[in-house]
Symmetry: C2
Subunit: 269 residues, 2 copies
């Protein structure tokens, strides 16, 4: 291998492929499609490998959507906590689906994107917080629409719904209970939809994760409401597959030995 | 004024000049020179104004040193928590002074930079932590040399010393006590030096800061040890002079009204 200049991330394709094969297996058993969350991982040097196993990408900004279209291909989901008018005019060039964060954004831009597949992010609400759901469900969250009556009214404009309510969740039981609650609370809405994205933050590539139970749960959810399920893995795809390679520039001693490397996660003082 | 695209920082030159005039006054009364900490502020659009009042820049990496040389001019101090061999070869093109973080770095590169003015960052030590000194004095700190015997041995290679031990410090009494302790502990060392940098983090542009007392203290310190004092203001130069101008892209309601703007300090989920 060519000697590289540090610092760099060394990605092990063998390990990456192992994760990707788990995702492929999930698709085969459960029917759920997986789109890579570019916010989490956007190193396009390995997109060639990834696109063999994933169905496309999901993005949280215009430039991520463009990256997905130009470097990954396949399906491009475009979400943003708020699109500007300019974003919306450009997004048509890159995305297959546009997922809005609010009903007001959907209404504002509906005429611009009505020919595309439109989705709405729905906040499953603070009542799930005792299941240790991640931040998006916290009080005053700005992430997703929360007024159920308004959401149902907007349903005819939508082909899908996105719930993103996990982060590093390796607890299948927690997910299972949350999905049951979502089914109970949003069943009528889901039945009107073609697809539902369950977001990212599910750690199904972790050793010991009950893949079969997970797939069964997803398949049942999908069949019960007649929706294509999407997953948006980010960390689950890449975790354990990369190392940060650095050079030790100096060794200091201040009670303990301290190595100074040519990389940092925070600025120094 | 031309209509700008948000988000942008709007810098008020009148307010900035007010801060700069305080720094000029400090130089006139105390004799202390001030170099802008580029790590804190590097918007070179206003360097033309700033260079009329400041003596140059200080940097924490090779590229900052280059920015200081090419866009600000005057004196360029170059510090790094660890220079690589390549950094050191380039730094000669940009810097007037090179300030090392450790004696091992000084020794490693002494032959490369012996014709330049060399400084050493000294960690004033954890014994000052009860004066609420900032992070650099914490246990196991990697910021600065801490072995006094070794520092004294290295003194013949140095023309100056840098102590950086404050952060948003608006408490003159605290600074005064810390300077007395530094004088007591490092007096022998300081007397061998041409210059000493007291670092950044002093909030002397805050309303009500006792500028006269501060100047007197600095002047006495400078005269007592026969050293040119440098200050490295960053935040003190720009605080209160700029606003982040944004556009509201969406209004949501989730118990409270929430404005979504086209800027953020952290990524969203």
């Amino acid at each position: 291998m060519k000697k590289l200049t540090t610092p760099y991330y060394l990605i092990d394709e063998t390990l990456l492929e192992k994760n990707l094969k788990i995702i492929q297996r999930i698709r085969e058993i459960s029917g759920a499609k997986s789109v890579l969350a570019l916010k989490c991982f956007s190193t396009w040097g390995v997109f060639g490998l990834m696109q063999q196993y994933l169905d496309g990408t999901t993005s949280s900004s215009l430039y991520e959507a463009r990256l997905g279209r130009e470097k990954f291909g396949k399906e491009v989901h475009a979400y943003s906590v708020a699109f500007s008018k300019k974003d919306i005019e450009s997004i048509k060039n890159f995305a297959d689906k546009v997922i809005f964060n609010s009903i007001s954004q959907l209404m504002n831009y509906y005429d611009d994107v009505r020919t595309m597949k439109l989705g709405l992010r729905v906040n499953p609400g603070i009542s799930y917080s005792h299941f240790d759901l991640a931040d998006p469900a916290r009080k005053y969250s700005r992430l997703g629409a929360s007024d159920q009556a308004e959401i149902i009214k907007a349903a005819p404009l939508l082909s899908g719904i996105m719930f993103h309510f996990n982060c590093e969740n390796d607890d299948f039981k927690n997910l299972s209970t949350a999905l049951d609650l979502i089914g109970q609370n949003y069943g009528d809405l889901l039945e009107k939809m073609e697809w539902v994205s369950l977001g990212g933050g599910l750690f199904f590539t972790k050793a010991g994760y009950p893949i079969e139970l997970f797939c069964e749960k997803i398949k049942n959810f999908s069949e019960k409401f007649g929706v294509q399920v999407y997953l948006e893995p980010g960390e689950a795809v890449i975790t354990g597959c990369a190392e940060l390679v650095t050079t030790v520039l100096d060794m200091m001693h201040n009670e303990i030995d301290i190595a100074i490397i040519d990389a940092s996660v925070k600025p120094t003082c």
